[in-house]
């Protein structure tokens, strides 16, 4: 039973209609709080980790070990004037950061989180097509970035948005094909392979072992999706100032920033769910959420290490890589998955 249904049962004395409205409301509040906690944790982790890699100390002034630094930064951003550039396309300019943030929160709503001792299942929404919904929600975020680039009437922003489009087009196809291979493999075990919970539960050995190629393709694509180094050509600071978010300031900029770090956490969590067994652990299925978090944090650290050590790849090379290497490799991977599913019935 997911959280949404439990909430609806809790409000059941009210009429069915009102009960579901209240359930959705509470669910949204929980989600936003959860995403905020994740972001605070992620940004703190990133800043400390980056500082250690770069022989620095990192934030250590506000609060114990600088843990309240993020509060201070957030307050600063919220208190800043949000400058609106002249000649902007007003509505898209205002809603673009919201689209990015909403896409992020929506994606978190669809993930299965496993069980956690007395609370039971932490999964927020069950749906028998949640794989498709999840990738639809993820695909919302680039729209916000492109809107931001086009509407702010700035050459850097437009160039950044164009690069973003080129990037998104070239990685999304291999990403989807490698997920398709997973669905195919899961279909041998479960009746609803498009349901994320079933897809994750059907991994007796993690999909990452037979699907190593798919894991690599998916991880590269997700790094590109989150657009951080080496795939941060969209907002490459040494070329395009900061790409699509050049004209943004204050809390609107903060939303793009949160979108970036949220994406890293989201992509790491998706890789651990789809390829590393997710909330399945060596013991005690009660601690599923803990296993998921451990796997995710390890992947996040891998992503940070990549971020901090490699230079930016050139946009034409990346597009080449997407179409000439990732796409054929992911198709080969799909064929391998098909053979495994038919032959071995893994």
């Amino acid at each position: 039973m997911d959280v949404l249904t439990r909430l609806a049962h809790f409000f059941a004395p009210l009429t069915h209609y009102i009960a579901y409205i209240l359930a959705y409301l509470f669910e949204s509040i929980f989600l936003v709080i959860f995403v905020t906690i994740v972001l605070v944790f992620m940004i703190y982790l990133f800043r400390k980790y980056m500082a250690r890699v770069q022989l620095r100390i990192g934030p250590n002034r506000v609060g114990k070990f600088g843990m309240l630094q993020l509060m201070a930064d957030g307050l600063k951003l919220a208190g800043k004037e949000s400058i609106l550039p002249k000649g902007r396309d007003d509505l898209p300019f205002r809603i673009a950061p919201l689209i990015v943030f909403i896409g992020l929160v929506m994606s978190f709503a669809l993930l299965p989180y496993g069980d956690f001792y007395w609370i039971g299942s932490l999964t927020i929404t069950h749906s028998n097509v949640s794989v498709i919904l999840l990738f639809a929600a993820i695909a919302i975020m680039p729209i916000g970035e492109i809107l931001a680039g086009v509407s702010s009437r700035n050459k850097y922003a437009i160039l950044g948005a164009l690069r973003g489009v080129a990037k998104d087009v070239s990685f999304e196809v291999p990403m989807m094909i490698s997920v398709l291979a997973l669905v195919m493999m899961a279909s041998a075990r479960t009746a609803e392979p498009l349901n994320l919970s079933d897809l994750v539960s059907s991994q007796i050995i993690p999909f990452g072992i037979p699907e190593v190629i798919g894991l690599l393709v998916f991880f590269i694509s997700m790094i590109a999706r989150a657009s951080y180094s080496p795939f941060d050509m969209g907002e490459s600071d040494s070329e395009l100032v900061s790409g699509h978010s050049t004209e943004y300031s204050g809390m609107r900029f903060g939303m793009f920033y949160m979108g970036l770090f949220g994406s890293i956490f989201l992509s790491s969590m998706m890789v651990s769910l789809l390829y590393l067994g997710g909330y399945n652990g060596p013991f005690s299925s009660d601690a599923g959420f803990i296993f998921l978090l451990i796997k995710t944090v390890i992947l996040v650290l891998v992503a940070f290490t990549v971020w901090l050590s490699v230079p930016r790849i050139r946009i034409d090379r990346f597009v080449n890589m997407g179409w000439k290497y990732l796409l054929p490799i992911s198709i080969i991977n799909l064929i391998i998955a098909g053979i495994i599913t038919l032959g071995v019935g893994l």
Binding site: Q54, P230, D232, D237, V310, R312, I315
Partner: protein, 376 residues
């Protein structure tokens, strides 16, 4: 020619300004570029945002006081600038420095060269999107700056040398610091070097990009590591030795690959050679006075020079020339500086044609610009 091309190309080119307040450009460089999609069709560097009229100010000051303006030209390699000015001023005034001062100057100039190249390497990494090597470079540079602080009281704008010698002698403590530095720096340098060259993306961003043919380089007046990376073995320290460089044993790194990577490799090899020079010099340094008594502090402002001199030295950026004209007074009649960065920058018009924006940034990174020196 550009006009004709424009007529043939019916599409309009996008005009884009990079700088002077752009995170990629070093200092206050402004690049006015014309873009066709992602391809740079034309690039025009616009300079002058840091113009401080240093040469004219030098003409209004005593010979001994001009030194600080040279410190602030190439502010990451202040010692080299001081050497460059003093080579000219001492020739004009006829006050040669004693032997010991010459050796001290060589050591300081080479330390400064390492510091300047480290700043360059870090900034180049940032240009390409590598965040961490910047800090590794600056940690090493900090050790050099600590030596400078110990010897002159200032980190960057040292104002350490003076006409007829140096401001103060080097003592046991400083020799120990330099010894320690030369002992541990080569290993650290290899670490930094590997952080760059063992990275495939770094190699692919630099190999074969920004090829500078030797003829073009000579025509534009390019000097220093950029020229040597184009396959021409020209270094003022060997071609026309000043100070005591003729008594030292070192190589001039040359690369025949002519691209970004060649410039990168040449600069790193130069750092290794500088360490070699420092190691020799610290052993060979003779005893004796560190200051020419003819240029005592009380007599300093009465120094008069007549005639004209041109002195050239090898700064980290290239050939640094100082032209001085004296009319017999206590102040120079004319001061003129040949700054290597300016000549090296001019070649970007040639290199930045028909490349991608990302490559243009990488190319301008390998030129190694310091705007205090370009604009003066």
């Amino acid at each position: 020619m550009i006009q004709e091309e424009k007529k043939n190309d019916s599409r309009e080119w996008t005009e884009l300004n990079m700088g002077p307040q752009h995170p990629s450009t070093h200092g206050v460089l402004r690049l006015k570029i014309k873009l066709d999609g992602e391809t740079v069709k034309e690039v025009e560097p616009i300079i002058g945002y840091l113009h401080r009229n240093a040469e004219k100010i030098c003409e209004l000051d005593y010979y001994c006081d001009s030194l600080i303006y040279f410190d602030r030209m190439d502010y990451v390699a202040a010692m080299n600038m001081e050497v460059g000015y003093l080579e000219a001023a001492e020739k004009l005034l006829g006050i040669p420095p004693p032997e010991r001062a010459k050796w001290i100057r060589v050591i300081m100039a080479e330390l400064s060269r390492i510091a300047a190249h480290l700043v360059w390497a870090g900034a180049f990494g940032l240009d390409l999107g590598m965040l961490s090597p910047f800090f590794y470079c600056f940690v090493q540079r900090e050790k050099i700056l600590r030596i400078f602080t110990e010897i002159s009281g200032s980190r960057q704008e040292t104002n350490y040398m003076s006409i007829g010698g140096v401001y103060q002698d080097i003592n046991e403590n400083i020799i120990y610091m330099i010894d320690e530095f030369t002992k541990e720096f080569p290993d650290k340098l290899e670490e930094i070097f590997n952080a760059f060259v063992k990275n495939d993306i770094f190699m692919s961003r630099n190999k074969g990009i920004g090829i500078l043919e030797p003829e073009v380089a000579i025509n534009y007046g390019v000097t220093g590591p950029m020229l040597r990376a184009s396959g021409i073995e020209y270094d003022v320290r060997k071609a026309e030795p000043y100070l005591v460089y003729d008594q030292l044993n070192f190589d001039i790194p040359v690369s025949y690959k002519k691209d970004n990577l060649a410039r990168f490799l040449v600069r790193f090899e130069e750092m290794r050679q500088s360490v070699r020079i420092i190691k020799q010099a610290i052993k060979k340094i003779p005893d004796g006075p560190y200051f020419n008594p003819k240029a005592k502090k009380s007599l300093m402002i009465r120094l008069r020079g007549e005639g004209e001199v041109y002195a050239r030295t090898e700064s980290p950026k290239g050939e640094f020339g100082v032209y001085l004209v004296g009319d017999g007074g206590v102040k120079p009649y004319r001061v003129r500086v040949r700054s290597p960065s300016l000549k090296n920058l001019s070649v970007i018009r040639h290199l930045g044609k028909d490349v991608l924006i990302a490559d243009l940034i990488a190319i301008s990174g390998t030129i190694d610009l310091v705007f205090g020196e370009v604009d003066r």
